[in-house]
Amino acid sequence: MSEFDDLYQEVIMDHYRRPKGRADLSHIPDERAMENPTCGDTIKLEILHDEAGRISEVRHNGHGCAISTASASLMSEYTRGLTPEEARAAAERFIGALRGEGKLDELDSMGDLAALRGVAGLPVRVKCATLAWHALLRELGEKAS
């Protein structure tokens, strides 16, 4: 498989075309958006919780490429039902794996997120794939404090 086909797998393209968790977040001020300085892409997040304090949905909105949009969509899917601590650990595992700090194989235990492993070989695109997850860490961190 070529680098390109490895990157733009069918599951990625599905999430890009029909992103899960995408919502109108115009009530959140633009200054709260997370920015990717290499391309100017932005993302806003809103985390909804159920009565037990678990995440019921991570909603997102912003400008991004197929990789960053699909990653936000996959994140929304993956984090549903997690506790904030579990979601934070997942974000750190995912970011670490793509950055080459953790084991790339760890992605295999993260369901459809494994489809993003092609990004690891492309340093410029790692920022696209991790933007939503950095935003998630920031939101979770601020919620906790």
């Binding site: 070529s2 680098e3 390109f4 990157l7 733009y8 393209m13 890009y16 290499t38 391309c39 100017g40 892409d41 932005t42 400008h63 991004g64 490429c65 197929a66 990789i67 695109r125 696209c128």
Partner: protein
């Protein structure tokens, strides 16, 4: 923005028969152009980011390190003399290349960014006063914005931006009409790295001088594509990079009027820029060495010298005709791609084409084009104020040089159509 067809017509240039037959022999001078990317011949359409290097440049740098390498201005032995001669010879060549009156007006830097930082720090620190105005255009690269922001904050000066017309040009009459008497310097790109717009530096200089202000021209994008003559441009400072001019990365030029450079304090302290160093104070070397602290990139200057010779061998006439013809073809090919909108349709423009396309993100377009062997740039092009003005986070940019071919331009059009089918 105006229609693409309109400017395509404005760029009509008669094609010389011998120009076409030269393309293959010119391309043969650039070994990297023979590369294959993802099973396709490389089509390098990212010349505004950096140019490729001809064999003449590669061999000159290689030759310097093989047989002449030594430190300059200090080593009293044969190699030291030869390296010093190379360095100063490169300076003389650059001076002739841009029509400088004296070699001493040519300062070597690491590139355009350092050249502008040098002026902003040294001239700005010494001559800007509280309330003074630095006039920029809305199409500047970050390297001609941020150094001015830094010095403006230190000196209590403010930045004012010349707004753009719908076609991406600036209206000089408006510049004149809205002139702020506190303006001390105008900092303008000669050619926009996003819009391709070529600014009339001569007229801008005249306006600045009529009001007692200076003009700094950022020639990073124009230097590789047109003859520069500081006398004809009328500017006070001119900055450009070697690496966009077919020379290595790491060498650049600042040209300034001698009287201005003389009056400016040193930018960096270190070896080579001093006459004598005491414990408390030092006296500084003459121009141009006052601004050249530390061991410089002599190999880079040797490469730059070779690149200037290479340009001389081709001739500006050849480069100009070839790039106008390619630019015309690019405008007609891009004009045929449905859903593509070009940013920058000024009549006076170079072969740089930034566009938005069918709501596909520039990253995705660039990645798809790379699969087809086409190298383009995607991003904000270090021009975020301009991106905000265009109301896009990023664009895709194809930028041409004389070695590109009509076939490569057509491959771009076809690959964009294929990208649309893939993503939408």
């Amino acid at each position: 923005m105006g229609t693409i067809a309109m400017i395509a017509n404005a760029l009509v240039v008669p094609e010389l028969p011998d120009v076409e037959s030269n393309v293959a022999s010119v391309r043969a001078r650039f070994p990297i152009l023979a590369r294959e990317i993802n099973g396709h011949p490389l089509a390098y359409l990212d010349n505004a980011a950096t140019s490729q290097k001809p064999l003449e440049v590669i061999e000159a740098v290689d030759g310097f390190y093989r047989s002449r390498n030594a430190n300059i201005h200090r080593s009293l032995h044969t190699l030291g003399e030869e390296a010093t001669a190379d360095w100063e010879g490169a300076r003389a060549k650059v001076a002739r290349f841009i029509g400088a009156r004296r070699n001493e007006e040519v300062i070597f830097t690491r590139g355009t960014t350092e050249s502008i930082n040098l002026v902003a720090s040294s001239w700005g620190e010494a001559f800007l006063k509280e309330g003074d105005v630095i006039l920029l255009t809305m199409m500047e690269h970050h390297s001609n914005i941020v150094p001015w922001q830094l010095v403006a904050a230190r000196r209590g000066a403010s930045l004012v931006y010349i707004q753009l017309e719908a076609d991406g040009s600036i209206d000089l009459e408006k510049v004149e009409a809205s002139w702020n008497p506190r303006t001390r310097i105008v900092c303008a790109t000669h050619m926009s790295n996003v819009l391709g717009t070529i600014n009339d530096i001569r007229r801008l200089s005249e306006i600045a001088h009529a009001h007692g202000a200076l003009l700094l021209a950022d020639a990073a994008q124009s230097a590789p594509h047109m003859r520069l003559d500081v006398g004809a441009l009328g500017c006070d400072f001119l900055a450009f990079s070697g690496h966009k001019l077919y020379a290595p990365m790491g060498i650049g030029v600042l040209w300034g009027r001698e009287a201005l450079l003389e009056a400016m304090p040193p930018y960096m302290g270190g070896g080579d820029m001093i006459r004598s160093v005491g414990l408390e104070t030092s006296t500084y070397n003459d121009l141009p060495w006052k601004f050249e602290a530390g061991t410089p990139d002599v190999g880079g200057a040797v490469g730059l010298s070779a690149a200037i010779d290479f340009i001389g061998g081709l001739g500006w006439d050849y480069i100009g005709r070839r790039e106008a013809s390619l630019g015309r073809r690019a405008l007609s090919v891009l004009g045929e791609v449905r859903g593509l909108s070009l940013h920058g349709t000024a009549r006076d423009r170079g072969a740089v084409f930034s566009f938005s396309f069918a709501d596909i993100h520039p990253h995705d377009i660039a990645q798809f084009l790379d699969r087809e062997g086409l190298a383009v740039r995607a991003g904000h092009h270090c021009a975020q104020p301009l991106m905000r003005l265009l109301k896009v986070p990023a664009t895709t940019r194809a930028s041409l040089a004389f070695w590109n071919t009509e076939e490569e331009v057509e491959r771009l059009g076809a690959a964009l159509e294929a990208a649309k089918r893939f993503y939408l």
